[in-house]
Symmetry: C2
Subunit: 432 residues, 2 copies
């Protein structure tokens, strides 16, 4: 019965293989995990903050986090009622629901297509999920180990880390801090934080986040039109991360890649309720995969993504999807505008303070992130430590987002207003 | 800057590769997905039911589902209050929470360790998640493409399907319906539904579910002691799926693999609130990875799983974790007993009816599944169709769980009592 298994795997024997420890299993560690440099960024920030507090316990109450982009405002009334009702009805015979469709509630898919996309996409192109980060991994799972990925540099670390975990890359080069077989697309003050993908080696999959995390840059319609054109010409699939779209106030900045002609034949969009409605802990997101998008052999990409959703995921929580529905009611939409305005005003305060200190500052207009250019020669981890030690303000060093982020610092506008004001005051005093 | 990428990937060119369709991308489909035979089982069952209803629309109101193992009882009061409070407090400044630890709330990890495991494991060995199915994929992600997996045959299709998706297998053999490089461990009436792993080729990872889905078999302490011993001797890691543990009534059947001596050096346990508290749609589960479990090179397995959780997952919903806490209060525990008793009584009714018809019947004592042995020569898909057409009762053919399930049918006890009684009556009339 298992002869085929034997033939296929000549290296397996009937007893354990030699191992370094008597108690170790005989299972080889996945070599792709050994390639990962350090831990995931955000826990690392927490570890450094905790190390500082261990040496300076009296500072514990003074810590202000402008680090991880984590929402802080309570969930407004109408949206909250969606969540509470979603839970309450599970206690009744009529309202109880068990497993839902892995792709999400039909009603929510419909509402996302209509309210957020004005029906330029159809409901069956929407896959509801527990968040964009989880969807990035599911997208990678679908693409598999054989693709070459391109990322903005700096970028949200999940694109690179999951590429490494999937086995798409070689080792990291300690000199450049770049992984072999990832196409790094530099984004910095010199190129308006928009990469020239056409001048770089082709990649199968291009991860692109706009408004960007961490740079706060929001790509214009012309820029995205150029990117889509290049992706189509090169046969690349564009994975567009639009998690910060609600922060866009500039009418010339598209909120979805599908506003760009031709995108439906080359792009996927990952999106989230996290920053939108304060759902970072609630967990709700979605991914749009157009019907027309196919692999080279003609297989619809949607078909394989659907298989990942059905086999490796069981749908977002029914309670949480109730909250998502409420977000898309007119009352929910109005509440979200208030939340977003609040964080954008925070961003403005941070921007002004950083300018006053004398930094060159980017982002923050159509994004909740302010990207601060550091003086020549100052490393971003150094500046992270300096602000932590002098002002007890936690930030994120640009280098944490990739080698191209060196020389920059990310400040998050997700914080209560009084913390933002206090952080600005302290930094203005400490950093002059 | 991207020279390294070029060198590592000689096959990428600066323009798209030839493709079958003008609009197709130039990205090759992940070949592992092409190996997957058919769709995921449960959506396939739904498709066949719908096809039947399209031809027999007058039968729509008569359909009774004993198919997918989906809870139907409303969530009881105390547990519900945990969910509702979890939602409600997000509307207050003090109660609001954003991103939590990827491994789950400290309080919930502690409570799982103490209430469910009587502290034989420690809280930092518990990873809270959105469900066991999702955790199986995360476990696979960690193991990577290089391992050989063993599965009970028949078994929950997720083990095999995710092994295929990860690239651990060769193609499926159309004659045997087995994938190359999976070790199939036959479980049937002849061997008391317990496999002789020692007599089969060694695998790196052994997936083992008890009480079993679909056979309903619950492994005894002696059987599990033997399995753990063999896994340790062979250096295999045992992934023990205990999602049905709450249904165990026999004191000689362990509810956790960690009740077995030596398991902490060779086993992982995946578990779930789905069947336990009716959380199939709510989404909450956990995985236990002992500190002492290591790969052959000494790397703690927990370290790599922690990396998966942090990088590719963002924690279970804070609302849902509030429900999990309530489940583990004494009031919640008492409510769960009532739910489980209800489903076990359903299982008893199904068992009796099937015996009355003349089938040989297994499972259902310590499990919510009744496994029916079909008369010689009757295929399980045939019997599935017969029961659907003659009695409008949806079941699951054993063959859907692997080639070893041929000749059996799975009936699920997750249904309202009146549906169970009605299904038993109809089947007794129709199948004689």
């Amino acid at each position: 019965m298992a002869a085929a298994a034997n033939a296929f795997a000549p290296s397996t024997s009937s007893t354990r293989s030699a191992s370094t420890s008597l108690n170790a299993s005989g299972v080889a560690r996945n070599p792709n995990f050994a390639k990962l440099a350090g831990g995931y960024l955000f826990p690392e920030i927490g570890r450094r903050r905790n190390a500082y507090l261990e040496e300076n316990p009296e500072m514990a109450s003074r810590i202000i986090s402008l680090g991880i982009g984590d929402t802080t405002m309570p969930i407004p009334e109408h949206i909250l009622s969606g969540l509470v009702d979603g839970a309450t009805k599970l206690g009744t015979k009529e309202g109880y629901s068990g497993y839902g469709a892995a792709e999400g509630l039909e009603e929510l898919r419909q509402k996302i297509a209509t309210v957020l996309y004005k029906d330029i996409i159809s409901p069956d192109e929407v896959f509801v999920s527990d968040g964009a980060k989880c969807d990035i991994m599911r997208v990678q799972q679908m693409f598999g180990p054989g693709v070459v990925s391109a990322v903005q540099d700096p970028s949200y670390p999940v694109y690179v880390d999951t590429s490494v975990m999937m086995g798409q890359t070689g080792d990291i080069d300690s000199a450049t801090s770049q992984y072999e077989n990832i196409v790094y697309m530099p984004c910095n003050a010199e190129n308006d934080f928009f990469p020239d993908y056409a001048a770089l080696p082709r990649a199968d999959v291009v991860y692109f986040c706009s408004p960007n995390n961490p740079t706060g840059a929001a790509a214009t319609k012309d820029q995205l039109t150029e990117l889509v054109k290049t992706c189509k010409e090169r046969g690349s699939i564009l994975v567009f991360d639009a998690a910060y779209a609600p922060f866009i106030r500039d009418p010339n900045v598209p909120k979805s890649i599908f506003e760009i002609e031709g995108a439906k034949e080359c792009a996927i969009e990952c999106n989230s309720f996290s920053k939108y409605a304060g759902f970072t802990g609630v967990r709700l997101g979605w991914t749009v995969i157009p019907t027309d998008l196919t692999f080279a052999d003609g297989t619809p990409v949607r078909q394989d993504f659907s298989r990942v959703m059905a086999t490796a995921f069981n749908g977002a929580s029914n309670i949480v999807q109730g909250g998502g529905l409420a977000c898309l009611d007119p009352e929910g939409q109005a509440e979200i505008e208030v939340l977003i305005d609040y964080y954008l005003e925070n961003a403005m305060l941070l921007k002004d303070a950083m300018k006053e200190i004398g930094f060159k500052v980017f982002g923050g207009d159509n994004a909740p992130y302010v990207f601060v250019q550091l003086p020549e020669g100052k490393s971003s981890w150094e500046m992270f430590s300096e602000m932590l030690e002098k002002a007890q303000v936690v930030t994120i060093p640009g280098a944490g987002f990739g080698p191209g982020g060196e020389g920059y610092l990310r400040l998050s506008a997700f914080a209560p207003r009084d913390s933002i004001i206090e952080a600005c005051d302290r930094l203005k005093k400490a950093m002059v």
